[in-house]
Symmetry: C3
Subunit: 133 residues, 3 copies
């Protein structure tokens, strides 16, 4: 598979995402469920702590990717839903951006949106990813 | 096409979705518009009844899939938007989960999120799907 | 690549989207970041003007597509997030629908949803697209 980052501008470079990722004929595409701050029994962790929730959600993204034989380097797009989006950007987004940076990958940014509620009361953050290899 | 369910955990098994679906080189991918509780003329049905809306929306998902030569068994990811998410989980989600179960398919769960409003006043529920064959 | 419009009904014809797009073995798939009314330095334009924001966002979609060697004709699905969805439909959606119409393309409609907030304060509209060629 060939993968190319699409960035007509530079302002997004410090925000941890790309304006697009162009994928050519992947062998595999992973459609992953949204990941929040759940433990392995499905209980919410880090209630009230968006940085902790983002870090745990990224752990879970990695676990799902690993089960599919993939890593964070294979993610082509991620979407963010947060119950307080500006609070997330100031306190939680670094947990997401640095993990992709450590994997040497800058996925397309999809949507980052504020929402009134997520699947489980207390969830402040959820990330969905699509990965290709 | 080869399709593999990705579930590093078990807690999601009773919720009607998988943590991921890994797709290998599909012949066809269907990007479907979000489906709500519309009749064939585009009028909203089941105002105030989220279970009725979810059932009708699933009928419409099946109609769109059929027009593309597909069935619910081909859906790899679904996303839920509801104006009252906890009310939907308690009263409407069974309509979604059982239809996929009847088709012998457990798609990736995408995002399930609460939203202040959908395209048509009175819409309480909308589902988007991606299907591969 | 072969691409087929899926429309079991006709009521959506005047709304600028299709119920589905069926894609066969694309050479390339572009996962694009959500586009809002940003200038090339990342500053928000047209604060308080949803039609202006939609037009500028569509310019940006075209710029991202062009960087990937694509045009609006290659978009297979678009999703709309707006802070006032009915206001957007009445005042901004024409800017989106006419641009796709001019490109001779009717993508799948994905989700159109109201949200309390988007990435930058003042953003009233954001569009995400997936394109295939």
């Amino acid at each position: 598979m060939n993968q190319r980052t699409i960035n007509p501008w530079t302002w997004q470079d410090q925000l941890g995402y790309a304006q697009g990722v162009l994928v050519e004929q992947p062998q595999q595409t992973l459609y992953a469920a949204g990941q929040g701050s759940m433990d392995s029994d499905g209980n919410l962790l880090h209630d009230g702590d968006v940085a902790g929730q983002a870090a745990q959600a990224m752990d879970n993204v990695e676990t799902v990717l690993a089960e599919a034989g993939m890593t964070l380097a294979d993610v082509v797009r991620y979407d963010i839903h947060a119950t307080d989006l500006q609070h997330y950007f100031m306190n939680g987004h670094e947990q997401v951006a640095k993990r992709f940076a450590q994997a040497g990958n800058i996925p397309a940014g999809g949507i980052a949106t504020e929402v009134p509620g997520l699947a489980v009361p207390g969830m402040a953050f959820e990330i969905t990813v699509i990965a290709c290899r």
